[in-house]
């Protein structure tokens, strides 16, 4: 095991106020099970799961209540034992509608012992282990929610030699991953070792930003005896160090091709929370039913890192943290750079809910957008090498073909451009709309063929 600094410098990026001090010294607290859980079928990237239960059914904790619907999809499990109160559409964090299962807990929290714990996992083959990960419904917990088992099954012509563990947590305010690394470094490392075993990856890199010295120390200790080409990579603190393609480049110098996936350059990136979920699934036989969410922001009375059941309503989560003080302008699922603004506290946590952030009115002003003054700051800030100013103008003019030619589909929606824009143009909003329209167009074109 060695410690290195990131050998390659990523392009662009910004330095937003980190505000991690609100929650970083708060140890993970376990929240009691709320009176009702709403478990969404769309907690991962890809097709939403298909509900397997109906109103009135009784379920046990860890029981599968949603089955994957397609290759890129994931299982969903009941996060508590109890009775199904309703099955129906509900908005997800991003505002899209998806089926959700409301469960009223029975107070016993009985597990369905379905998966066999495998403390001697190293004796198992990759296929069996990947099967366990799939059974447990593990999906990327950093935010995107890519089903982990899909990532672990690359086609034979795309061998993966490098496993990167993302502990950058570059989103301001969020500290859940940092707490996991500080409090449970051994389990995180076991999860990493399992992933490494599955992939047969020669190189393992655990990436942490240099503003988390305690997490670096804890992980170093946990990894001390690791054999082979294992390194802890200290990244310079800047946003978006945690973006997948940027992180791969910063560590390996490999550029994921435009439109491609990390496996195209022999890499796989998993977030530390996901590694922990893999460990829990394999070693303890526990499907993914809970996660740590950072509940933070100045209006939150007692910010902290909360271990909550998946499907916990935001209102209960906030109440557990002492409620909100003063006036609140925005509530965001996730962090301030890429999170989704919520109109109310009616939503519930999902596998991807890394944070719940409340902002006071002064911290979330509504800006009037002006004409682009061609200052070029967005161009400097864009980590993908795009010209956000030009794209946004093309998209405002609804010239989707031009925007496509200018590679709007490569935008990772990191928000750096809008963060720096002095004309305060809603650049990311333009990119999102444009990407959705072009994706639709492409799908239509495919269907015609």
């Amino acid at each position: 095991m060695k410690t290195i600094t990131a050998p390659y410098k990523i392009k662009g990026g910004v330095h937003p106020a980190y505000r991690k001090e609100l929650a970083r010294e708060q140890a993970i607290r376990t929240m009691p099970v709320p009176s009702l859980l709403r478990v969404s079928m769309a907690q991962h990237l890809g097709a939403p799961a298909k509900p397997l239960v109906k109103k009135g059914d009784t379920v046990l904790r860890g029981q599968r209540i949603g089955e994957p619907a397609g290759f890129i999809s994931a299982s969903v499990h009941a996060s508590v034992s109890g009775t199904v109160k309703a099955v129906g559409p509900a908005p997800t964090a991003s505002g899209a509608m998806a089926m959700a299962v409301d469960i009223e807990p029975d107070g016993n929290d009985t597990w369905l012992e379905q998966l066999t714990p495998q403390p001697n996992w190293s004796a198992l083959d990759a296929k069996t282990l990947t099967g366990i990960v799939a059974e447990a419904g593990v999906a990327g917990m950093g935010g995107a929610g890519f089903p982990t088992n899909v990532k672990l099954s690359p086609p034979p012509d795309k061998p993966i030699d490098t496993l990167i563990v993302n502990g950058a947590e570059c989103e301001p305010y969020l500290t859940a991953d940092e707490r996991l690394m500080r409090e449970r470094p051994e389990q995180v490392w076991t999860g990493i070792a399992i992933l490494r075993h599955i992939l047969g990856a020669k190189i393992v890199r655990v990436a942490i930003e240099d503003n988390k010295p305690d997490a670096i120390r804890a992980m170093k200790k946990a990894m001390a005896d690791a054999e082979g080409d294992v390194a802890l990579v200290v990244l310079p603190a800047s946003y978006p160090q945690g973006a997948e393609k940027q992180q791969i480049y910063g560590i390996t110098g490999r550029e994921t091709p435009s439109g491609g996936l990390p496996m195209d350059v022999g890499c796989l990136v998993e977030n530390v929370g996901t590694c922990l979920a893999v460990q829990d699934a394999v070693v303890n036989g526990r499907p993914l039913t809970e996660r740590v969410t950072t509940v933070t922001g100045d209006p939150v009375a007692e910010p902290g890192n909360v271990l909550n059941r998946i499907g916990t309503p935001y209102a209960d989560l906030i109440a557990f943290c002492g409620g909100l003080r003063g006036s609140v302008a925005k509530v965001i699922s996730g962090g301030p750079m890429m999170g989704f603004a919520q109109g109310s506290l009616d939503g519930a946590t999902a596998k991807t809910t890394s944070g719940l952030l409340a902002l006071a009115p002064g911290q979330a002003p509504v800006y009037e957008s002006l004409a682009c003054i061609s200052c070029g700051r967005c161009v400097q800030a864009c980590p993908m090498g795009l010209l956000p100013c030009e794209l946004s103008q093309a998209l405002e003019a609804e010239d989707y073909d031009l925007a496509d030619a200018f590679h709007v589909m490569d935008c990772i929606e990191c928000g750096c451009c809008a963060y720096v824009c002095p004309a305060r143009r809603p650049l990311v909003q333009h990119m999102r709309t444009g990407k959705a329209r072009i994706a639709l167009k492409r799908r239509e074109a495919m269907q015609k063929k």
């Binding site: 435009s258 603004a341 002006l370 003054i373 070029g376 980590p383 993908m384 010209l387 004309a423």
Partner: protein
């Protein structure tokens, strides 16, 4: 189950990011105004009341023209005024005028700068040409005589320092005098010895009110760099190219050419390189584009100054305006490489 339609929205819903650096167009413009203050002080010092008169007239008529145009076009007036860009245009236009220019001409120039060069194109952000330079070019073409009449700076005796007082030099611009001499085949009228260099650096010479003091302009430019309003690319490439160009000319033809520091310190070069060629709206957005822009300005300026016949001794304004015109092309040619797109083997 409830859906989002039948519940009240308590909090603002908008697209990410939910954080902003705080930068605004008005902040940037305010910094430019601050950065122009040393040069304004120098202008008042060297040209007295005329400097105050021209600055007041230009700023007032630019702001007035901006308000009237917005009103006439039925667009919001307030948003256009609070960005302070009209104030900047007024200051820069005034800085580009000779001290003796009548006020009514300054008003005309301001109206052209704001009304035609800026608002007719749609306002801040849509204008292809630097409005202040467009205003100056308009005046130069319309009133060539008045725009090139340099009266002796009204340096009151008591303001003189270090033995430097107004003399024959301030009656014309150094660039103009050199040009005249070269055309007439006379020996060069200005010797760039140490004392003259210091005088030129401070701004003790004839010229437009805001362009004379290279020192004040450099101080302001460094402030802009420090505040990250501009990057180093344009000023360094512009001044560097001009220096190299004139150095070559000087080495080839020392009898008829002035040394590089003469060219850097005289005329509108400092004002142009720090404040006109760095105008965000009319210059490229890419880093490589800014380098091309700076070099292009340098080459064109020196070409006009040295090569193009003795019609007009100064080249900065037209060089920058020409480069403004090809800025869209420069942007297109200097796109950054897309992440993940391999360089063609």
């Amino acid at each position: 189950m409830t859906t989002s339609d039948d519940k009240t929205t308590l909090y603002t819903v908008s697209s990410s990011p939910h954080a902003h650096s705080g930068a605004s167009a008005a902040c940037l413009m305010f910094d430019v105004i601050v950065a122009l203050m040393p040069a304004l002080l120098a202008a008042v010092y060297f040209f007295g009341f005329d400097a105050i008169r021209l600055v007041a007239v230009c700023v007032a008529s630019c702001v007035g023209a901006e308000a009237l145009c917005r009103k006439a076009m039925g667009r919001p007036v307030k948003t256009a005024l609070v960005d302070l860009s009209a104030v900047v245009t007024g200051l820069l236009l005034a800085f580009n005028l000779p001290p003796s220019l009548p006020s009514w001409m300054a008003v005309l120039g301001s109206v052209f700068a704001i009304g035609i060069a800026k608002q007719a194109f749609g306002g801040l952000g849509y204008n292809p040409f630097n409005p202040a330079l467009a205003g100056r070019a308009f005046l130069l073409i319309s009133f060539t005589g008045r725009m090139t009449a340099w009266h002796a700076a009204r340096l009151p005796e008591r303001w003189s320092f270090g033995g430097l007082t107004a003399d024959a030099l301030t009656g014309a611009t150094p660039l103009g005098m050199v040009k005249e001499a070269v055309r007439a085949g006379d020996p060069l009228p200005v010797a760039m010895d140490g004392a003259t260099t210091v005088r030129f650096l401070l701004g003790d010479m004839g010229g437009c009110i805001g362009e004379v003091s290279a020192l004040a302009l450099i101080v302001g430019g460094l402030y802009l760099l420090y505040r990250r309003c501009i990057t180093w690319h344009v000023p360094v490439c512009y001044l560097g190219t001009a220096a190299v160009f004139s150095a070559i000319h000087w080495m080839v033809d020392p009898a008829a050419a002035m040394p590089p520091h003469f060219h850097l310190l005289t005329g509108g070069l400092m004002l142009g390189a720090w404040f006109m060629a760095t105008d965000m709206v009319t210059t490229p957005v890419t880093t490589r584009g800014l380098i091309v822009f700076g070099i292009g300005c340098g080459v064109l300026t020196m070409t006009i100054r040295i090569v193009a016949g003795g019609i007009y001794p100064e080249g900065v304004s037209f060089a920058i305006l020409l480069m403004n015109a090809i800025t869209p092309l420069i942007n297109r040619a200097t796109r950054p490489r897309l992440f993940g797109q391999r360089r063609k083997a």
